[in-house]
């Protein structure tokens, strides 16, 4: 698969690359899967319509891990075609879907930033789904100010996405408010010394409060169970009949299904299908799926934004990618906006309250000054 499929506007400074899960009418939308290799998008995603309506050029399409099933589970290196496209100067921005934190974790190391907006603020109409309760289109950018400008063009309610906030538009701007940053000290202490120094230096610009994020460790399990459950449901639509890959040889309908799915899906989709079906099965439903939904509520309720405006987190606390998943699970599980960027050579992540993206911009700008 080509890592970047160029459009005419490729190379323009402000052009936007689209991950292969975001549909652009008449163009392939593979979502990183052989299953959709021959699929041509029959309509524009809402975000694409809004880019077109604001005369924003589309640079092309970037490849992705199959259905955005994150790298936390695999040893294989995939890199990030979206990041590569920005570094190569092919695009100024990329719109991505990043439930598992793969791009959020890698962007700062490449000197880029990533905005994961409040759940329900950007339409997913025309986004090939992974896990609907967490899916959110975000912006990969070179700087957060420009990134939020782009976000303001695509954010705002859309009747074609059934799970959205009611705000019709969003203005992202710096605010005059003294920001308080919550520092989860036990988690930060697990980061490298260089990361800890950068976090300390960043927080020196603000009032701070040491906090304890209860249920942090369990966030990775909750996300994995819920994301795989939803993903297994979403990819059950690929049956070799209505669209997508169909095997060449089959004797009957059952064989058509099995061969098409077995040949069309890669390991990420197969893992998601099997794990998702397992946690939803009668024997496991209560102890895994329903339990995970309950703990999700505890996680969502554990944030205390009356005590702080933002939470700071490192981008890595372990050599084990799965252990690190908790760092990236919090914002999708609770629907909260977050940004990750580079500060003094190290990656930092900030999480804000729902719809409080302006605290994120403000913190970033204050720290730049």
């Amino acid at each position: 698969m080509e890592r970047f499929v160029r459009s005419e506007s490729a190379g323009k400074k402000d052009a936007v690359a689209l991950e292969q899960c975001i549909m652009e009418k008449g163009k392939p939308a593979t979502s990183g899967s052989k299953m959709l290799n021959n699929f041509t998008a029959p309509f524009d995603a809402e975000v694409v319509s809004r880019l077109n309506a604001t005369d924003t050029s589309i640079a092309g399409r970037v490849e992705m891990r199959e259905f955005a099933v994150g790298g936390s589970f695999f040893d294989t290196q995939f890199g990030s075609p979206a990041i590569e496209a920005l570094l190569a100067g092919d695009a100024g921005f990329a719109l991505c879907s990043d439930v598992f934190g793969e791009i959020r974790s890698k962007a700062p190391m490449a000197g880029l930033a990533y905005i994961h907006p409040t759940y329900g603020s950007v339409s997913r109409y025309g986004l090939i789904p992974l896990a609907a309760s967490m899916d959110q289109i975000g912006v990969l950018c070179k700087g957060l100010e420009a990134g939020f400008q782009l976000l303001s063009k695509i954010a705002g309610s859309d009747l074609k996405d059934g799970a959205m906030l009611s705000e019709k538009e969003y203005e992202y701007t710096k605010i005059n408010r003294r920001l308080r940053i919550g520092i989860p000290t036990k988690i930060v202490a697990l980061a490298s010394e260089a990361d800890q120094t950068a976090i300390k230096s960043f927080c020196a610009n603000f009032e701070t409060e040491n906090i304890d994020l209860t249920h942090f460790e369990i966030a990775k399990q909750v996300m994995t169970i819920l994301a795989f459950a939803e993903a297994s449901n979403n990819i059950s639509r690929y049956d070799g009949i209505k669209f997508g890959y169909r095997a060449n040889e089959y004797k009957n309908l059952e064989e058509l299904y099995v061969r098409s799915r077995s040949e069309g899906f890669g390991l990420p989709a197969k893992l998601a299908a099997i794990m998702g079906t397992y946690v939803l099965s009668r024997d496991q439903y209560e102890s895994y799926y329903e339990k995970a939904m309950k703990v999700r509520r505890l996680i969502k309720n554990s944030f205390e934004f009356d005590k702080y405006d933002l939470i700071v987190l490192p981008l890595s606390i372990s050599d084990d990618a799965y252990e690190n998943l908790s760092l990236y699970a919090l914002s999708p599980l609770a629907g909260l906006p977050s940004v990750s960027f580079q500060y003094e050579g190290q990656g930092i992540q900030l999480i804000a309250n729902s719809k409080d993206e302006n605290a994120l911009i403000t913190a970033w700008e204050v720290a730049q000054a």
């Binding site: 021959n38 699929f39 041509t40 029959p42 309509f43 589970f73 759940y119 329900g120 309760s133 009747l159 059934g162 799970a163 959205m164 369990i218 990775k220 399990q221 909750v222 994995t224 169970i225 049956d239 070799g240 009949i241 209505k242 669209f243 997508g244 890959y245 169909r246 004797k251 009957n252 309908l253 058509l256 299904y257 099995v258 061969r259 799915r261 077995s262 390991l267 197969k270 893992l271 299908a273 099997i274 079906t277 397992y278 099965s281 102890s287 895994y288 329903e290 339990k291 995970a292 939904m293 309950k294 703990v295 999700r296 509520r297 505890l298 969502k300 799965y322 599980l333 629907g335 729902s354």
Partner: protein, 91 residues
Amino acid sequence: MLEISKYESLTKLNLTEIERTQIEKIANKLIVSFEDLREIDTKNVEPLVSVLVLQNVLREDINVKSISREELLSNAPEQYGGYFQVPKTLD
């Protein structure tokens, strides 16, 4: 541990030996980690289905143009006379 063949049949997949080994390895690591969920007290906690407070969204009952039959069928692997084509389903 995960009885993988049962889930292959439920998900309409036929894995290769290599895939089965890879998935089993990852799945078993995950399932061991899921045990930690038991430690969390969720008595009287309601499951959280969506982070949004969802309301019914209503619109006027007016026709809205959607995609055409031709466009819908254009991605079908096989079609015949305006229908999706499948192998014979009854003997």
